[in-house]
């Protein structure tokens, strides 16, 4: 395999939330295939700065697939085509010499563009604020081993809790639904005795907030699960629906 390759990049540029955006094309030569995708964008930005042009704004922070800050539609897929990979973990060795790569921001009514490839995902915080917690204050809680929890449930809760809040699920859903994100949190907490107490109420509050914020309805297309970089399973949506129904039932 070649160590260095040449790329053509079609990148969405948009100066601000209310401005019309458009694609711009950039040529980038001699990129080492050991670089990560974001390092490739760093190189492009460094070049733009040298040419006294505005660099491309994009979100990122940990660069190891855990903070959920990076985003990007890469050739039509959120976080690119590699399974279970965030954009920051994607490497240039996955692309070939001479390839054209299209890079766009999340496209979702609930995630307005801030600038270029950066979007506002504040809606996710608001959904958590509506109920994505266990209502305990600091102090005065029982010993950590007071309530044994089956390893099976603990592990499943852990899988649900692996959601990094990146927004790929909602961005890729044709209905713009945030169901997978909401379900992951509801499911994690419903699986644990500590969170079970408020489970139904939590489900209702979070779904109501999701609707209010302009996310669409879930029609079980499964696109979210396919694109989720953390392989969050749509089985959690089933659990959310159960909790939701039980809340409705109690009403």
């Amino acid at each position: 395999m070649e160590k260095n390759i040449n790329l053509t990049l079609k990148i969405w540029r948009q100066a601000g939330p209310k401005v019309k955006g458009e694609f711009e094309t950039y040529k980038l030569d001699n990129v080492s295939t050991d670089n990560s995708f974001l390092e490739m964008l760093d190189i492009l930005n460094e070049k733009l700065v040298k040419e006294r042009k505005e660099p491309i704004a994009f979100d990122h922070d940990c660069r190891e697939g855990i903070c959920g800050m990076c985003s990007l539609f890469i050739n039509g897929h959120p976080h690119g085509l590699d399974g279970e990979t965030t954009t920051c973990q994607l490497h240039i060795r996955r692309f070939h010499n001479g390839q054209t790569i299209t890079i766009e921001p999340w496209r979702s009514a609930a995630f307005p563009v801030i600038k270029d490839l950066m979007v506002d995902r504040g809606a996710f915080d608001k959904i958590i604020q509506a109920g994505g917690y266990v209502s305990v204050n600091t102090g005065g809680v029982p010993d950590g081993n007071a309530i044994p929890i089956s390893k099976v449930f603990a592990d499943e809760a852990m899988d649900a809790a692996s959601c990094i809040g990146c927004g790929a699920c909602a961005a890729t859903c044709k209905n713009g639904s945030a169901m997978l994100f909401v379900a992951a949190k509801v499911s994690q907490l419903a699986l644990l005795p500590q969170g079970k107490v408020e489970a139904a109420h939590r489900a209702k509050a979070m779904v109501a907030k999701m609707d209010e914020l302009g996310f669409g309805n879930c029609t079980n297309t499964g696109a979210c699960e396919a694109e989720c970089p953390k392989a969050i399973s749509i089985s959690h949506i089933a659990r959310l629906n159960r909790e939701f129904l039980s809340a409705k039932f109690k009403d």
Binding site: D61, G132, Y133, V136, P148, M158, Q188
Partner: protein
């Protein structure tokens, strides 16, 4: 317990850490029993600014809001959940002794003091060990899905430098789960209106009125607008300054700026030279690399570290003529097991890092750069099976394979040390208050608890101890006297002045219009730091570093180019502002390292080592925490000292051999 005062010859310029009287085990209870509290109706009238939403910041903000204070919480990321703490992998310590293997509060305290090479404050460390158990209970109550055993109880693992299993974990994503727990508690308070959240905001200065911290100036990173915020007290939990080295395991926006702002307003910076170099990181691949990735230390539980015994083999491997798996057992040098039979691959980080450097410098390194050693799982896979190893470290192996493009189940991993954590930071007293009244500092940003070297799984413990269980008490001792202070106007001259200073600085940077990008200057600084202020330091090298850093400062202030305007989202400007402060802290690190003529923990001065190459402390002269006091731009800072008197523990040379 022998109560013997081990005094030192250090003539400390009286820095008072305000440690409560009494025997070690009773200090914290005594403190809590006698401190001042704020009554519930007054709490609502008091505003507290918390900068940072990492483990320290979000746990503090949530807990203080629960108590009834009015909290304003700031972070750089778009959501508090994305703070750098999210990336912590391995685990969190607590003295639960659930494994019945002889752990106790005292043992956790002792291990931490010893691990820190006797350069931490006894009283603080004891308190940390004491509150550690409450953290686990709290997190479980929040729904943190810690790993469990089949019987349903919490599982533990042993972690670098400890002989007991006291580390709690959630797969290889412990930081993520703990932070999401704290974030959920924080979100609950935001929902209730008790915390006002300011994400995508960056603090640019702290405002001092009549000698007390009364607010901050922050930049809205989306609009570029500079805004003023008042509070009765300011708490900073802004994380560590590891990114001074450019390449580190820290997140891209981790920075030193809040610390430098506090320093310039009168807070001391303590022990900046104590930087932790983590032994198990993925080696550097090339010049366009932007950051380094940690491979959790927990891997050392089942992985064995080695290099070839013969130089010829190492050379052949570097040239691509041989593979690791071509070497037979007796052709491998398991150098940690050889040098440290008692601890083997589990020696503390500083020891493991230096040993790797020693082998590579001597010509035994592998990988195409020669700056790598092997971390080999073949014998564990043979003993336990691939599935067990996958269950333990699956996500780490996957991360490794994505970056390096090699299957670590088949080929040993390659690792090399990298900057990871900073033990030094803003000086705080027992109450976590800095030398400026009303200004508190928590988490990695402060200097407390870890001395000269931090043990694995102790940073998460400290961040959450500060935020959940220490600060919410100690800050009340301060605020109890502030209930008469009204909410001050942000039109006061002190706010004006601070904002003016910030505007002038930004304008100055924007006007340079040079030809060098921020990143290229940062890379330059990073190389200087790594080469001269890294794992092996000496007088001549540190003096060279100080000269070179001066040159970098000059280059930055004459040649940097920041495109765009300051009144809009401008990532290059954000980086430039942080860069200016990395230069300041970089200089302080080198200065502190030059001053400290001994080796201890993560600070290794080549002139001061034992005959077999271990760190050689000098307790007579250096048993103190250095406190650097800002003396004005362009002036030499003043060195003050907080003497570290060991009342309860007898100091020894650390020995991990027998």
């Amino acid at each position: 317990m022998a109560k013997k005062q081990e005094s030192t010859a250090v003539e400390a310029t009286k820095i008072d850490a305000r440690i409560p009287e009494g025997v070690l085990a009773e200090k914290w209870s005594n403190y809590k029993a006698h401190q001042k509290l704020v009554n519930p109706s007054n709490k609502r009238r008091l505003d507290i600014i918390v900068v940072g939403t990492g483990l320290a910041g979000s746990s503090a903000a949530a807990s203080m809001a629960e108590l009834g204070f009015n909290v304003l919480n700031f972070c750089i990321q778009d959501s508090p959940r994305r703070a750098h703490s999210i990336a912590a992998q391995g685990g969190i310590n607590a003295a639960k002794n659930y494994q019945n293997d002889g752990d106790s509060v005292y043992r956790l305290f002792y291990d931490t003091i010893k691990g820190g090479d006797y350069r931490a404050r006894e009283a603080n460390v004891y308190r940390l060990a004491e509150v550690s158990n409450g953290i686990i209970d709290q997190c479980v109550a929040q729904g943190v899905p810690f790993a469990r055993e089949y019987g349903g109880l919490l599982d533990n693992r042993s972690f670098g430098g400890a002989q007991v299993s006291r580390t709690f974990y959630a797969k290889g994503q412990t930081g993520q789960q703990l932070l999401l727990g704290a974030y959920s508690a924080l979100s609950r308070q935001v929902g209730k209106g008790a915390v006002k959240l300011f994400s995508r905001y960056e603090m640019l200065d702290v405002v001092i009125i009549d000698g007390r911290a009364r607010g901050i100036i922050a930049r809205n990173l989306v609009s570029g607008k500079i805004e003023r915020f008042f509070a009765h007290a300011v708490v900073v939990g802004s994380g560590g300054y590891g990114n001074t080295f450019f390449l580190s395991t820290n997140a891209m926006t981790s920075n030193a700026s809040a610390a430098v702002q506090m320093y310039k307003k009168g807070a001391y910076i303590s022990n900046p030279a104590y930087c932790q170099i983590h032994p198990t990181c993925i080696p550097v691949h090339g010049e366009t690399q932007s950051k380094l990735t940690l491979m959790s230390e927990s891997l050392r539980n089942d992985g064995r570290i080695w290099v070839p015994k013969l130089k010829e083999d190492a050379e052949a491997i570097r040239a691509g003529k041989k593979k690791a798996t071509d070497l037979k057992e007796d052709e491998r040098d398991y150098y940690l097991e050889r040098r440290y039979p008692a601890f083997g691959n589990l020696v503390p980080r500083d020891v493991a890092s230096r040993a790797a450097k020693e082998r590579c410098d001597a010509g035994y390194g592998v990988g195409n750069t020669g700056l790598a050693v092997y971390l080999d799982f073949s014998s564990s896979i043979e003993r336990l099976g691939e599935n067990t190893i996958r269950a333990r470290y699956g996500n780490l192996f996957q991360m490794y394979e994505k970056i390096v493009d090699e299957n670590p189940y088949k080929m040993p991993m390659m690792i090399y040390p990298a900057i990871h954590y900073t033990m030094g930071g803003v000086w705080v007293d027992y109450e976590l208050q800095t030398s400026v009244k009303g200004l508190f500092c928590i988490g990695e940003a402060n200097f407390s608890d870890h001395g000269a070297n931090r043990l694995g799984a102790s940073a998460l413990m400290q961040g959450l101890a500060d935020g959940y269980f220490v600060l919410p008490y100690t800050i009340q001792n301060y605020l109890a006297d502030q209930i008469q202070v009204p909410r001050l106007s942000t039109d006061l001259p002190e706010f004006d002045q601070a904002e003016k200073g910030i505007r002038a600085k930004i304008e100055k940077i924007m006007k340079i219009q040079g030809d060098t990008s921020v990143d290229s200057i940062h890379r330059e600084l990073g190389l200087i730091m790594w080469d001269f202020v890294g794992m092996g330091r000496n007088k001549a090298g540190l003096e060279t570093a100080l000269e070179k850093i001066k040159a970098v400062r000059h280059e930055f202030w004459t040649k940097v180019y920041v495109p765009g305007v300051s009144t809009d989202l401008n990532v290059e400007l954000e980086k430039a502002l942080r860069m200016a402060d990395f230069i300041e802290i970089g200089e302080l690190i080198a200065r502190d390292a030059l001053m400290r003529e001994e080796s201890c923990g993560g600070h290794f001065r080549e002139e001061y080592q034992t005959p077999d190459g271990e760190a050689l402390r000098n307790d007579e002269e250096f048993s103190f925490a250095s406190c650097w006091k800002f003396n004005g731009e362009g002036e030499e800072p003043e060195l003050l000292k907080e003497a570290l008197d060991y009342e309860f523990v007898h100091r020894q040379q650390r020995n991990y051999k027998a």
